[in-house]
């Protein structure tokens, strides 16, 4: 037993310290945050949403002097994390980081165990347009490509059923270009890009994932669904230039439970915008082909509402749904 005496003493004192540290938490913007902030990421570690969350978490934690932890809670296309934050304490210590999925799922999923009203958007500051690309051996101009595609029912690869890339591409092909095509879903964007690199499929639809491949000439970009061309691949035209007025972008959003005090929401929004205004942070994000937008809380809220309607319209048009 002798050997155990020291651990006992250590254990007891540690428990005492732990208990004495525990304090009552009250939410106020001036002193926010008083405690550890948890960012719940709606997707697995390693994806872009996760990387963005980690960059922001790191910077916020330096700025606030309190730990900001990233917790990955993947599931049900992002709905699992959303429903957890929807019912979390509205003290500003629980934030949700998710993607366009939060807007798409409003229409895509037949049932969800949360409502978007239970969440307040804080920031939507980075976006990347949906892009379609093809193997360099195929026609590289959108018009030529569609003519070529007309009589061969092309296959197109995406990151999965109901992903933004799938919805945008299918909407474009079916509604705007009236070109029959077979959708081949892959597990994640990287594998869909791989299939196009090996010319296994006729086309890939993705967002930032194809940018390095297009810049290196391994794939030919057919069109980007943004208002202006993307600086990382200036040779790729927009859909609008090619006669199809069509804009669809994937973005990353930070949200909080709806009842979170407005001044805290405002403070987080301001702080994130401040971080994103820094040159070093901007360089990282722009290098990946992301576009930056400075929006205040009111603008973010309007933008999200528009996006819910826009994606909803596309989802209904192509008639896809998920249980």
């Amino acid at each position: 037993m002798n050997a155990f005496r020291r651990p006992v003493a250590a254990a007891l004192s540690a428990v005492a310290i732990v208990l004495s540290c525990t304090g009552v938490v009250r939410a106020q913007a001036s002193s926010y945050p008083q405690d550890r902030v948890t960012m719940t990421v709606a997707f697995a570690a390693g994806g872009f949403v996760d990387s963005f969350a980690r960059i922001i978490a790191q910077e916020l934690s330096t700025k606030w002097g309190k730990p900001v932890t990233v917790e990955n809670k993947a599931g049900a296309g992002g709905n699992t994390a959303a429903s957890i934050i929807a019912s979390a304490a509205p003290d500003g210590l629980n934030l949700l980081v998710t993607s366009t999925a939060i807007a798409i799922n409003e229409t895509l999923y037949k049932q969800r165990d949360y409502s978007l009203d239970q969440l307040v958007p804080i920031s939507i500051s980075v976006s990347s347009p949906e892009t379609i690309a093809t193997h360099p051996s195929n026609p590289g101009d959108l018009k030529d490509y569609l003519a070529w595609a007309k009589d061969r029912e092309i296959t197109f690869a995406t990151a999965g059923v109901g992903s933004g890339s799938h919805i945008a591409a299918e909407y474009f092909l079916r509604k705007l270009a009236k070109t029959p095509a077979t959708h081949v879903p892959f597990r994640g964007g990287a594998l869909s890009v791989q299939a196009a690199l090996g010319n296994q499929v006729d086309m890939v639809a993705s967002s930032f994932g194809v940018i390095p491949q297009v810049t290196e000439g391994k794939l030919k970009g057919l069109a980007v669904a943004s208002e202006t061309r993307v600086s990382a691949m200036p040779d790729v035209p927009t859909y609008t230039e090619k006669g199809f007025p069509f804009v669809a972008e994937s973005w990353v959003a930070v949200l909080a439970p709806a009842k979170t005090p407005a001044d805290i929401v405002g403070k987080i929004n301001t702080d994130i915008n401040e971080i994103l205004a820094r040159k070093d942070v901007q360089e990282k994000l722009l290098g990946m082909g992301y576009q930056l937008h400075k929006r205040d809380v009111a603008e973010v809220s309007v933008y999200l509402k528009d996006e819910v309607n826009k994606w909803g319209e596309m989802v209904r048009t192509i008639g896809v749904s998920v249980e």
Binding site: A45, T182, V184, A190, G198, V201
Partner: protein
């Protein structure tokens, strides 16, 4: 020999004192966290990722690669000592590694694992340096049809993996495939076999399978026998493999390295097959295949080398194509992103320092592992002296924390508990869980690739015959199956079904 110049340049980058230090720290931390039962390489990298934020990108990647190697090795340590594989490759290591540990040869198993990994890592580093770009484009020939055929071959391996009845092994594979279909169907998004439970809606994590079916089930079996079943304590002077054991391991290590290097290059996570393929190969080549599953050192040396070589060469699709072949590499992409690096074909040309530095650091990382772990073997083996009545309590809490840290989902712990009961039942009915794991790992990829291949070929099965690589693997699979089943049939029909 252009690549030698490049490699030399890489070595210059990698051996800067700060990078050596970071590589060492990464390997050390990775080993220490990875050895905790229930914490696999993915969890270890995710946990330690924030530590690299403050570093410059090259240094950060070197440290992360070190963490990865350390975590892998730590995982092997946990599965050898306690039979708790946290990922599918460790399942294979545990087959004979844990048997060795129970016979008091834990030191030899750990030692050969470190040595094999080092040799495999060193060779794979040269392979990457010399052949990265040509191999990467070669890998793109693999489309869904080829992957399906490759996975089919892999399942044929699983039949040979079994120690006992081939017939029961086939049933186990099928159960593994069935378990892998739980969750959303990739092609339609419809949920299958989730019974309306939210926590099943994304399928079952492989880590849960490893910890439940093997780890906790092993705890059940050990408790049944009291302290008697406990791992035999190793005599001190017996910490390293003997000369005979070393000699027996040389060829398995080289063959494993070859298999792992080839499979690791495939962007579609071919590396998962490597340890299984190596194990099967060694068992087939062995003069007494009966020793396998009962503590054969070749069954540790081969798969561990294959695994490490595959882990290394799986950097090829990441660095040359920007395609992460597995979840660990996806995490590396995330880490690169955080440091403002876009993985893709341009890395090699635009950031030679980073590219060649990372490759040179791979070799350094493997050397570090050897340096760190050979002395640690003694420590790990000493840990086995903790009485089992306390040890298993520790195993359980680490498994709980490990499972919870994957997805912060308490229900995952319950799934693990259910799998543990199932694993315990399997041993009571003389079924083996290893083929089930392979069926689980390959089942999902097989179904997805099969359906993708058929979509692309517009429903024509001829695609598997017309594409030469696919046809080759399908023929190979049939041959493997025949080789696997025929001897048992020849031995008399009884033995196919009874052990």
């Amino acid at each position: 020999m252009d690549f030698l110049q490049n490699l030399a340049h890489g070595v210059v980058v990698a051996v800067s004192p700060i990078n050596v230090l970071l590589c060492f720290a990464g390997c050390m931390l990775g080993t220490l966290i990875g050895v905790l039962p229930g914490i696999g390489p993915i969890a270890t990298i995710a946990i330690l990722l924030p530590m690299t934020f403050g570093l410059d990108p090259t240094a950060a990647l070197i440290m992360l690669a070190g963490i990865y190697y350390g975590a892998q090795y730590g995982g092997s340590t946990a599965s050898i000592l306690l039979n708790i594989p946290g990922e599918s490759s460790a399942v294979v290591t545990a087959l004979d590694g844990h048997e060795m540990a129970r016979q008091g040869r834990a030191g030899a198993a750990l030692g050969i694992s470190a040595i094999g990994s080092f040799v495999a890592g060193s060779i794979a580093t040269v392979v990457i340096a010399a052949l990265a770009s040509p191999l990467a484009s070669l890998a793109l020939v693999f489309g869904p049809a080829e992957y399906f055929a490759l996975m089919l071959t892999g399942l044929a391996f699983a039949v040979l993996l079994a120690r006992g009845s081939v017939f029961k092994a086939i049933i186990m594979i099928l159960i593994g495939v069935l378990l892998s279909t739980v969750g959303p169907d990739l092609t339609t998004g419809q949920l299958r076999l989730t019974f309306g439970a939210v926590w099943l809606a994304d399928g079952i994590e492989i880590a849960l399978l490893g910890m439940g079916l093997f780890g906790i089930a092993e705890v059940f079996r050990s408790l049944e026998h009291g302290e008697a079943r406990q791992v035999k304590q190793t005599q001190i002077g017996n910490l390293l493999p003997s000369r005979e054991e070393m000699r027996a391991s040389v060829k398995p290590i080289l063959r494993g390295t070859l298999l792992g290097s080839i499979l690791g290059i495939l962007p579609g996570n071919g590396a998962v097959l490597a340890p299984y393929a190596s194990y099967t190969l060694e068992k087939k080549l062995a003069r007494q295949p009966g020793r396998f599953g009962r503590g054969a050192i070749e069954g540790v040396a081969g798969p561990e080398s294959a695994n490490n070589a595959g882990a290394q060469t799986s950097f090829i699709p990441l660095l040359t194509l920007g395609i992460p072949p597995n979840a660990v590499m996806a995490l590396m992409v995330g880490a690169m992103t955080i440091h403002g690096i876009v993985p893709g074909p341009q890395i090699m040309t635009k950031m030679p320092d980073l590219f060649w530095g990372l490759i040179a650091s791979m070799w350094m990382g493997n050397l570090m592992l050897l340096v760190i772990n050979l002395p640690l073997v003694g420590l790990w083996v000493k840990l086995l002296n903790v009485p089992y009545r306390l040890m298993f309590v520790g195993i359980i809490i680490f498994c709980c924390i490990g499972v919870y840290s994957i997805n912060s989902e308490p229900a995952d712990i319950l799934i693990m508990a259910a799998l543990a009961v199932f694993g315990y039942a399997l041993s009571k009915f003389n079924f083996e869980p290893a083929p089930l794991t392979l069926g689980f790992v390959l089942g999902r990829m097989m179904e997805e690739n099969l359906r993708q291949a058929l979509m692309i070929s517009r429903g024509s099965f001829l695609t598997f015959v017309e594409r030469p690589i696919a046809a080759f693997f399908i023929v190979l699979a049939i041959v493997m199956l025949v080789v696997g089943i025929l001897p048992s049939i020849r031995r008399g029909r009884d033995e196919v079904f009874v052990d």
